[in-house]
Symmetry: C4
Subunit: 126 residues, 4 copies
Amino acid sequence: MREPLGRRRWAIAEGYIPAWSHGPEPDFTSHETACILNAGEREANVELTIFFSDREPAGPYRVRVPARRTLHLRFNDLSDPEPIPRGRDFASVIESDVPIVVQHTRLDSRQAENALLSTIAFAGAE
Amino acid sequence: MREPLGRRRWAIAEGYIPAWSHGPEPDFTSHETACILNAGEREANVELTIFFSDREPAGPYRVRVPARRTLHLRFNDLSDPEPIPRGRDFASVIESDVPIVVQHTRLDSRQAENALLSTIAFAGAE
Amino acid sequence: MREPLGRRRWAIAEGYIPAWSHGPEPDFTSHETACILNAGEREANVELTIFFSDREPAGPYRVRVPARRTLHLRFNDLSDPEPIPRGRDFASVIESDVPIVVQHTRLDSRQAENALLSTIAFAGAE
Amino acid sequence: MREPLGRRRWAIAEGYIPAWSHGPEPDFTSHETACILNAGEREANVELTIFFSDREPAGPYRVRVPARRTLHLRFNDLSDPEPIPRGRDFASVIESDVPIVVQHTRLDSRQAENALLSTIAFAGAE
């Protein structure tokens, strides 16, 4: 059997949820997403910690990604233990008990035409 | 002779084929692409597996990339064993029998002006 | 205790501060950003060196990122020892005394609708 | 003395020079760029090879990047041994005799508003 694909620790140094949107909801709601792939055979228990410029981190936020599934997690939707503030810089660390792959995507629809960015997250050594 | 450039296992955690387009076809058809480079001297036999949030994975989809060639594979064009549904989150794992390089690009033309994203895919250890 | 997440040396080969902007300030001021995450328990002393195509490098520029904080550093704001010229190609090396994570983002608002790019920076071996 | 930052072999699996542009020249000419940073103390002799989907590779194209300099190389400008065709998929391998860092950026100005993408290139093991 092949080694599971991915790593257990990831970081996204960029984070920003625009404070307003433009276009039909929910597709064109401005959003910040951590796309998580669990290509393995065991459910992933994932914890996110959110870092700010001027206060202690928030979290952990807990999500589960079943075996052989992907979860495109919108930071906009996180609410427990607290929502992510809009219009403020943040960063995130994503930790899992099994290997996963994480990619960061933003749709910014503050102006009439949407803009997109995406990057593979930073993969820790483990 | 130098070691072939690339890896045999790759993952793209983000995937989404917009359900509609805007602008002249086919250049401005919204599309999601896995750009595959086979810079080596042997043909690459490539298998893609598509992961979803709420069902078992689809695939494998099989493509060949000849030696010293690139293939910019549109997920829109995959049909065997089944087409990729529009407007739904997915992720993909790309496996090859020889080293390749994979980059992920999207053109989103749902609004009047197109938006672009691109990132190197996640490279497995092998 | 787990190993701190990140690396001590990073590089961003792309850099360009557009010479003009469009849209409400300061959110839509064209900017080039190095997003730095210090997820560890010790303050990071960070030095940036800016490379050009036709002159010796500028810097070092010094910034501090407290423990458990992120800093989204706009190259536009660097002034000591000298401002970064607008409308000119540059690149940067970011060095820290503790592990950090660096991501590069640009908002280009020279035309009516903004465009975005982002990528994880290149992580050195250390 | 510290180890030079970067690698000697890089690949960009995505490549496409749009066939037309929109907006004031030359800033808004659609272009595909390999941003090369040579942060070291020795000049870099760089060779690019361009791969296509349906013919043998083109090149090598040779450029030099002086010590402590960056070169934002537009694929549009390559002409020797042959220009890169517009409107066609390609990929590239970049090889240097000293460590460099490579990032890939595109400005697409085919529609009224420009779109941007950028990603760190794939770094070979050496």
